[in-house]
Subunit: 208 residues, 2 copies
DNA sequence: ACCTGAACACCGTTCAAGT
DNA sequence: ACCTGAACACCGTTCAAGT
């Protein structure tokens, strides 16, 4: 609440809405509450942003900014580059658990387009032909989006996990194979993400 | 509107909410409007359902019901079985475009658990070990969820697609590789889904 | 057991009005 | 150019009351 004395600006709005979303989640974003945090009158926002959807678009794109480590330009191993790009993208979204679900529902902002361009360029440099590029990009997009939305929403508290385990074991006669796979119980999300990604990359460009 | 004279029941509520969601989308679902469609007083729903979230859960699970073709039990080709299971799942969700985004945010209902059990059993029967089952299921889940949410939300009208094309070409100096991949312009969603899925399956269980 | 209307505590957004 | 409060048209849900 140290914003009270300053003027409104798009930048301040963006910073503050990300804070608010972090604190209260998607459903907690109310125009009045956002104005409050900015120390502004309830309706002052509308001079700057149009409507609430625009606020979401701003928050989402801001979170997807790519802070490229300036050293690493092109490594020897394109596969390592792809994994790095996608893990960084996923990590950025997981830092803001509200963001992943929003991404496939809004128009693509400049920051996500930059990430996709970098991904495309790396795939292309690795020898993927233009004809295959579309499928390659979408496959990786689908995998990352699905994995991140799921992880952001199913990252249960210990209590919840215990309850889910309880529930599944109670139903184990109906779902024996799920039970055997320990579907909701294995906690190694990062490892599972990486392993599945490796499988997908194996298919996209078989290793020699 | 031919429901006016009948009594309320969970089944009628489920059928009607799916109709309403189909007609108005997720944001169009209002408790009052749902009651209207049922020919009931505005607040009568609350005797049956608890709250609005429960209504969403009911709608989602109902849409995910698996109508197994009773003939096909186990074909020769497990890979074909997997593809069929996942394409049927995806098609079911695309028939109700509001459903895919909802699925990873809610607790798993009985119908989606049945589908996952069938998927697990098929993978297991194909030789995937219990240790690998978790990763295999999640990889396929991630891919299907990501693909379906994206398709349900990016299935643009012709006008929108023209606008998006216009916008991307205007930015082609910034995103040349995306432009070359014709990312948003290729319209063959089904084909792209299948091709990407084949890549993933190649990785999960390489063909001889 | 099942349904209802009135009422409460919210929302997003418009708009005329202020500086 | 930038901000504001009052007001409008909604919401989900509670609750006492009806049959």
């Amino acid at each position: 609440m140290d914003h009270e004395d300053r003027q409104l600006s798009l930048e301040r709005i963006v910073v503050t809405v990300v804070e608010l979303l972090h604190a209260e989640g998607v459903d907690g974003l109310k125009m009045r509450r956002l104005a409050d945090r900015l120390g502004a009158g309830a309706m002052s926002l509308y001079w700057h942003v149009g409507n609430k959807e625009a606020v979401f678009d701003l928050a989402l794109d801001s979170v997807l900014e790519y802070r490229a480590p300036p050293g690493i330009v092109a490594s020897e191993d394109w596969r390592e580059d792809i994994v790095h790009i996608l893990e960084d993208w996923r990590a950025g979204m997981l830092r803001h658990p509200w963001s992943a679900s929003l991404l496939p529902r809004r128009a693509l902002g400049p920051n996500i387009l930059s990430r996709l361009e970098l991904l495309s360029k790396t795939l292309s440099g690795a020898g993927v032909t233009d004809a295959d590029l579309n499928v390659a990009i979408w496959s990786l997009w689908n995998y990352v989006i699905g994995a991140t939305i799921t992880r952001a929403n199913f990252d249960l508290s210990d209590d919840d996990r215990a309850a889910a385990q309880q529930r599944l074991t109670g139903l184990s006669q109906h779902y024996p194979t799920i039970e055997r796979s320990r579907l909701l119980l294995d906690n190694d999300w990062d490892g599972a993400f990486r392993k599945g990604l490796d499988f997908l990359l194996d298919g996209l460009a078989p290793r020699p």
